[in-house]
Amino acid sequence: MKKNLKVIGKPIPKHDARSRITGEAVYGHDIVLPHMLHGVILRTEHPSAIIESIDVSAAKKLPGVVCVITADDVDVNNISYKRDHPILKKNEVNCIRDEIAAVAAETKEIARQALKLIKVKYKIRKGIYDPHEALKKDAPQINKFIGGKFSNKNIAETFHYEHGNLAEEKKKSAVTITRRFTLPRVTHACMATSNITAHYTKTDKKLLLYSSTQVPFLYQRDMAHALKMNPSDIRIIQPVIGGGFGSKLDMYPFEPICALLSIKTGRPVQILYSREEEFIASPTRQPMIIDLTVGADAKGNFTFREINIIKDNGAYTSWGATTPFVIMQAFSSLYKIPACCFDAMAVYTNNVFAGSFRGYGNPQATFALERMIDLLADELGMGKAEIRLLNANEKGEVTGQGLHYETCGHKECLETVIAKSHFKKKKSPEKSGRYKRGIGLASMLHVGGGAKIYRSDGCGTTVKIDPYGFCTVITGSTEIGQGSETVLAMMAAEELGIDLNKIKIINTDTDVKPWDVGVHASRTSFVAGNSLLGAIKILKEKLNKKAAQLLNTNDSYFDYENGNIYLQNTNGGEPANAKKNSVLKKNSEIPDSSFVKLDKVVREMHFGEPNELAIASYFYEPSSKFQDKTFKGNVSGTYAFASQSIEVEVDTYTGNVKVLDIYVAQDVGKVLNPLLLDGQIEGGILQGVGYALSEELLVKEGRILNPNFHNYKMLTAADIPNIHFYPVETNDKQGPYGAKGVGEAPLIPTAAAIANAVCNALAIELLDLPVTPEKILKALAEKEKLKKQTV
């Protein structure tokens, strides 16, 4: 890798932004194929019921309807990693999302009309909407496809982790605090709703899917399993994706349903969710109840954490059930913790199921543990900054779980936001007046170099250079709006010394691109970046050889710049003086023995002996370890840290919280592109503010009460606080140019810091999200009552 970076670190706008702002980019909603049908799904009217009969005869007769399917018409396997989720439901329904039938018709209107003609007879049952109810002995079994594996029939998944000597550490503790935290259901609300277009061709029995999946290769395998097909007969093309945030990490029933409609009709079929359907039927962040006990010694050193989590799994399993992988890392390894005992279980209910969402359980965990640190500090009479600094993680630390912090910016992040926000001056708020200000701190730890939750966390890349000096990068990774394409193009431009606009990225077709796990765990810049750098290294060896031949030298050190390959001055570290002269010579025809044009080298490779291509492939596998059954081991190539200090103003009359300033410092390893990095930070933080204050998918008896933007309160431009961002560069040698993953981190500590700030402002204790005006007023009223009683 080069030392004097010319492209990396520059604020370069997104490579594909132009096509996205002119209407040229083709999203899933924009696809129109010849002879295409429109698919719609009939969902249950009741969250828990027996299906007595389904009558589709009237729907089938409606002119323009081409196909109607129910569970009886298809031969398929269950989906989800637990295989506990039937694509079309038969005999019974267990959640308000349940798919009962699907229609393909000539127009959307006809398809929707046909849905109304399908008659389903239900026998309504009393559902179970509280995981504690579901755990009772006499509760009926909710999911019939899994059973026997756990002590209780409604347990979907359990996790147990421990390190250190819990009993010993409890003894050492001067203070011990126990609290219960409750975290809500929130949803991704991607601006583009879920969509898929399926095209099955009967002649060759191949299925082409235009899908917004974040994990095309896992998706291909899952789809094949669901449809009982050969994975290689399924080709996934990813159109431009209108937001991901983890929502597209799993395959959901609508996707194989669309494929089935296409298989049945032999015509392309498209399913687009309405916004209401998106709110009801797309996955959510896991709601959970966290029982947490923590201790500290008299000096404020943390001693232990004991955690018990119950997660509402909903009726079927999706990736939400596996979030304890990440949650336990926060509890075991954020700040120094001598002992930790962690238990989590996901419990089936008749609620909607939870999937993965940016942060993957970490925002919930961080909320509980960072709120708790404030409570500990209060109990010990310590400063909230001091207690955090005392316990902060350090470089070189190997945590109880086995995470190895080869670089660690935790302390620096904390110190930065404490200083920049004048935390210590502001921590004692005014006691009187209607508007009260408060300030809160929180940190976070997240994987920063992928996460080896599958046996491989790798990514493949092929790089080729054409005879005109343009470079094509074929990467296994996926662009979901985060800017990974741009970062990869920048790396290629940097290493090959060619203009950014000469780099093309191909990344949307499983028939073309090499294997990759997918977009998750903030891994793309790190893993796909390293993969690309590996491929370029191999390619350069080939190019160097030919360049040496053309330049008549035995030297093997070359610089790539301005579309040329320069012979390096081997006497010193600096590139050859000849290069500077050659800039002058470049435009003239004077031959120069110190450099040769890149495109010429490629042409000579093609046309001259031994006739080879300027192409190279590389598969990068991070050095991380696949964790053992006790969940110990270095699961990521590197780790990211961040701290936020947030100042709020609370209106004590209305309970409204105004977030004034957010100071954020994040260990990003190295800034690859400050413009895109800012975008990740700001976008993540605002999602965090929404999680803290306004967003909640309200569910009553299994039904979603607010399935629209009017009642599901996402923040608007008018609500944004001032964000002050300070990147911390720890230059991790594992990362491309030293970089770590950044995508998820910004939203993780935000809700915790905001809740801490509100509690600081009002001297109340909040243990639930979102922090709504109602909750604040209630807490204030209780405080008043208590005051009166004690007077």
Binding site: K14, A17, R18, M191, A192, G679
Partner: protein
């Protein structure tokens, strides 16, 4: 405004022949009385840059300009476009492929991530530009005002974005007006 449109939507019109200017060109088509402009733009004229984020008037992704005024095209009845001048994001692009300053500013300032909200954002900002270009035509001198950041925030309140946190969008808007000065 939104409420009123919702009511209008329930009125049934007969099949209707409409003509309007779409991105500078005169066009016409037949449409049902209940059809909304968003669907006509996307399905009849196959201009897919105007995005359907909700079809309920809540997200702004479908914003287009009708006689320079921003409307949610998902609530705007197509029949009401008759005789009007409609501008969509495709119409912002200059013939030689260069972007409108609004688009260029959004691109340069990193305001486009997934991009699904971006055409709506661009159209809303374009409307703001129009407002300001024509806002203070004092006799003898055309004064070009600059909206404050708060004013821009207010103006963009109807355009949701899940990716950017709005900061870069506001930066883009501010710089656009500064450059225009």
């Amino acid at each position: 405004m939104r409420e009123r449109m919702k009511k209008v939507k329930s009125v049934q019109y007969p099949q209707h022949e409409i003509s309007f200017i779409l991105n500078g060109k005169k066009v016409s088509c037949k449409t049902k009385g209940s059809a909304v402009l968003l669907d006509v733009i996307r399905d009849v004229f196959e201009l897919k840059g105007t995005k359907p984020g909700c079809h309920e008037g809540e997200c702004g992704a479908c914003t287009v300009l009708v006689d320079n005024v921003p409307v949610n095209s998902c609530l705007f009845l197509a029949v009401n476009a008759d005789g009007k001048n409609i501008l969509t994001v495709e119409g912002l692009l200059h013939a030689d492929g260069t972007l409108d300053p609004v688009q260029e500013s959004l691109v340069q300032n990193g305001a486009v991530q997934c991009g699904f909200c971006s055409s709506g954002m661009a159209m809303s900002l374009k409307a703001l530009v129009h407002q300001y270009e024509n806002a203070h035509p004092v006799a003898g001198e055309i004064k070009k005002g600059i909206p404050s950041r708060d004013e821009i925030k207010k103006h963009l309140e109807g355009n949701l974005c899940r990716c950017t946190g709005y900061v870069k969008i506001l930066d883009a808007a501010e710089k656009l007006f500064l450059n225009n000065e």
